[in-house]
Symmetry: D2
Subunit: 366 residues, 4 copies
Amino acid sequence: MSSSSKKLKVGVLGATGTVGQRFILQLADHPQFELAALGASSSSAGKSYAHAVEGRWKQIRRVPNNVANMQVYECKPEHFAECQVVFSGLDSGPAGPVEDAFRKAELRVFSNAKNYRTDPLCPLVVPLVNPEHMEILPYQKQQMGTKTGFIVTNANCSTTGIVVPLKALEQRFGPLEKILVNTMQAISGAGYPGVSSLDILDNVVPFISGEEEKIEWETAKILGGIKSDKTAFDYHEQDPLKVSAHCNRVPVIDGHMECVSVQFRKRPAPSVEEVKKCFEEFSTQAQEIGVHSAPAQAITLHQEKDRPQPRLDRDWQNGAGVNVGRVRECPVLDIKFVVLSNNVMIGAATSSVMNAEIALAKGYLQ
Amino acid sequence: MSSSSKKLKVGVLGATGTVGQRFILQLADHPQFELAALGASSSSAGKSYAHAVEGRWKQIRRVPNNVANMQVYECKPEHFAECQVVFSGLDSGPAGPVEDAFRKAELRVFSNAKNYRTDPLCPLVVPLVNPEHMEILPYQKQQMGTKTGFIVTNANCSTTGIVVPLKALEQRFGPLEKILVNTMQAISGAGYPGVSSLDILDNVVPFISGEEEKIEWETAKILGGIKSDKTAFDYHEQDPLKVSAHCNRVPVIDGHMECVSVQFRKRPAPSVEEVKKCFEEFSTQAQEIGVHSAPAQAITLHQEKDRPQPRLDRDWQNGAGVNVGRVRECPVLDIKFVVLSNNVMIGAATSSVMNAEIALAKGYLQ
Amino acid sequence: MSSSSKKLKVGVLGATGTVGQRFILQLADHPQFELAALGASSSSAGKSYAHAVEGRWKQIRRVPNNVANMQVYECKPEHFAECQVVFSGLDSGPAGPVEDAFRKAELRVFSNAKNYRTDPLCPLVVPLVNPEHMEILPYQKQQMGTKTGFIVTNANCSTTGIVVPLKALEQRFGPLEKILVNTMQAISGAGYPGVSSLDILDNVVPFISGEEEKIEWETAKILGGIKSDKTAFDYHEQDPLKVSAHCNRVPVIDGHMECVSVQFRKRPAPSVEEVKKCFEEFSTQAQEIGVHSAPAQAITLHQEKDRPQPRLDRDWQNGAGVNVGRVRECPVLDIKFVVLSNNVMIGAATSSVMNAEIALAKGYLQ
Amino acid sequence: MSSSSKKLKVGVLGATGTVGQRFILQLADHPQFELAALGASSSSAGKSYAHAVEGRWKQIRRVPNNVANMQVYECKPEHFAECQVVFSGLDSGPAGPVEDAFRKAELRVFSNAKNYRTDPLCPLVVPLVNPEHMEILPYQKQQMGTKTGFIVTNANCSTTGIVVPLKALEQRFGPLEKILVNTMQAISGAGYPGVSSLDILDNVVPFISGEEEKIEWETAKILGGIKSDKTAFDYHEQDPLKVSAHCNRVPVIDGHMECVSVQFRKRPAPSVEEVKKCFEEFSTQAQEIGVHSAPAQAITLHQEKDRPQPRLDRDWQNGAGVNVGRVRECPVLDIKFVVLSNNVMIGAATSSVMNAEIALAKGYLQ
């Protein structure tokens, strides 16, 4: 392809894992990015990609032809010299030092790992919610002493789903005061092999390590702003948002369901009809810019009384938007509703890719 | 058995259905009750019980030998003349008029159906929570013009699970102010054939018709008291308890999981340790009287961070108690925790049978 | 669309059911067929299609826009006067007389129902196997006294999967002598609501009514030929193929797995390598003609030792081909292997549509 | 308990694993055996049993009180000096040398591991089938130079289920010629964590490593006899039994389903009615001796057309017998039927314990 020469060369770290495989599928024929290097653990290094994922490729689409024969390298910057951007699907174990090394080597890192989410210099960006947090990147580069290298993280899959409708509400009705969320999360959120079948068949596990804490503080960082001098995020410490999460694992393959109750600062609180209208009309910067992976609808509002459902709705818009339903009054807080998001798409790889598309459109990759 | 002549003769209405089958298993060798008559729809009438349930008996235990050859009758009082008590596992369609006819025929009806739960004369009794509501029975009989006939109902399966720990909290710490509950309910709650496998495999359905409303008002009736003249229930109308429920169906066979957040009126609110101690020390009238089906522990408090779980804990104590775990602070209300109850046992048949045992012990069956 | 005027107008009978919904999706933007009329039961008649399937549409793709507002009619030929072809997804109850009425009204009926599969005048066509059986159609029309009306049926979903590789074997190695097949069938094969979740979660049901008999005789009809005068099918009565089937329902949504052992008449029997080569090289008339819905590969031979698998392979080629794996020697018969086919696609709607495409290409629809 | 002093002291190797946990439950209150020592890997050694299995105890019954505080040791004979018998639930990795060391230390080893199943001196005993194979034990001791130490193995879980009805057939009708079996095996057969939920939810995996080979040769050893001089087993090499197996993993927690077709040497083959009668009348030595864990019925013949089923029938008789159903003619071989056995009970721990009970009754433990 002659046109590919104009594409930005990108790499994938952790390319053989569950999230890595999704990156491969999204990038194999991307109009702006060209997959140029693959990194994985030393046990995969030296093999062709097809060989490295043998017995571990759990996607319905086959390994793309143009990727199957690419060689897999260790996750060291010298093997990614051609690339300008890397996407990281690394586990949190190796992600910390590896991603930092790539940043120091002047690569832009878009990471799905949790390590830098809490970093005061790193934006935690859900592309349909807070792309403006990338405005801290010049300051991050200045502080880290890099010319082009930076790290952008995306959120935990269960956080991603709820912040989209919460952002819609805050944008129209002003700050929220309290959020109570109950998750029913898919097994794919735990990677592969992840959850033992003996733990989840005919069962619910009412605990996911670290997950409730992540939802509680990630939501605050994402819905908070960025200070006017673009050097720090704004957590509204004086008047913090209260978030409470109950997290559960359920026997569903893909798609996190979340039941949400919210209380507004605004009194009287908006009505059910106003909230529905707000969801239907919500539009995001990613859509306005028209980036490649943005869904036509950031929020799909379901009218049926028993939707959304994971199996029927998770693949709508290739899993790039979120699904909301059952908007109704909450007798304890103000309004309650149900959210479904595809944890392996918008909840993981799609968010990283969309973040890079936004960064490209906004000039952060020059 | 010569001793059986001293047992109270009882019947089962809706004996061939899902709840009816559980009644059969509980009553087939009960020390105080003797199964003397079985009622079902006209399509089963005239058959032996074993024949009537052929292809529909979905229990691990076989049809008890002493029941297999009993004849099934239509649900008319004339076929139950020998009985003093009937247990009703009828669907809500026929339950209304049939249960009333049996009451008029001077039978004591312990019903699992929803029809009379809202009736201002009928006690809605969870045996581990509010047996004192039976004190309205003399007034019910007076109003209905019966000598012995009355109706006692038990609660919806998803209500039953949560009111046990909520009662423990109210008993020790005083009235609750707000309750937010999220259910993940087993398919057996919908009866047989009930939920289509195409609707629930690899899926969650975030809606169960009428369920959220039932939890919201049943909880108020059960946790409320009875007026001092024993002629009405007390809903604390001036200062009502606020209950909000999100109800979901999950691919679990038996056992309803519920995530609960509560707010106390008492300030400061009790601590996590005080709440745990309260659950561990909770003891109920059913246990104190020592009725046959009462569990050794009304509440089993789990220490492991990921318990209770439906598959592992639903059969503990033959499903007659409730399981509580993960007691912790709630950033939005005061305290949050997880409850698991066996929806077909304490959530259905076991509650009716235990209510009758309590009524017997308290002299209501004389 | 001006080009649509050149398309053949088609109707769907049983349009609201499980198979009917698949027909809708396949026909909504078909290059040769234009959806012109929809039929269903009287309870749906008079409604828009979107309204008629409300709460019953269980597809991941939405109701196509150009179908949503089409009116649904009763399944009477007068409402399909515009059409030249109808696809029938009717249940076997109504299918018999209704399909016959449409044939008498000079419509070409491509049916997924079982009623006419055993009819000595009706071809039972798996499009990747025996399209030449349509050569009996002139004789069918002559016998029925129609000018253009006829009925073509496709096979039961569990038969369809196995006859494709069996045909490949017979074509290369001559007649088979014995076939032993064990099926593990998806719940979608039973329609909606179909299998109760209480019957199949954490379970296998080793019985599907009528299924073993269907596999045993349908295989014989399909693999048999057509007599040289094109007035009857050839079952090789002197030397009949022996087929034995064990049928099981398993908790899988879509995709029938079948373990097959075969014995050839040819001695010595072909080797494992010869059989693999035969599968890889198998090509069908549907592919040679190049009909729209034909898969690129009629048989996909998997190399991995644990494939095919329903969840990973059922959607390959949009479910229009079959997947074969684990070809190895059988210590009892000659060769054994595993087959996976998508029961709702090639096993149902896709077969009917492909049969119509073949009929069109071969001039049977003029 | 004073009576416990008369019990035989036993140990469990691999006590913390899936099979080990079942041994604990079976031995905690056994009338003849007293649990005296527990062995596990070095990571568990030194802990109390309750502590060692924390987070890994996946049984519905709690850890027995009398076992919870027992200390866990490494699997070295010096820690089992008090014991006369050990039960091994070790993985095949460590099982080989460890079991041999215990035999050398004069302990009787009853093993569920596969390592010594093929050993020409070790009996491979399914207690309901071939306890007479223990007659080789004196010769084993002589060859190994031990006074009391020996190894008895039990069979693979999928073999165990089918050999019970096959033995019944051979006992009445003489030798079988061909057996074709298709398994649908539960996830618990793979231990914990075992099968990843991502591999099995909404799926079937048509491959279990080594399983088909095990069924094929274990069946031959078990159904074969023991030579008259009690020094070797008889495989009928001149006229070997042909066994062909297709093995599949299905989303079922416990209980292996197997579809079996058999061909007899006897012509004409027995009729369906004769085979049913044979199954109903089958009685085994274990039952005749009256050993503690023997089921009342070795084979339960189901009359319903869709039984046995794993979820409904696996716990019948505490999983100690096998369930057979759907006996009918096979168009390819002679007779076909369905078998269900509980893979963690009769398929694993129960077989080892019953073997030891038989050995005790027959004087092999003196």
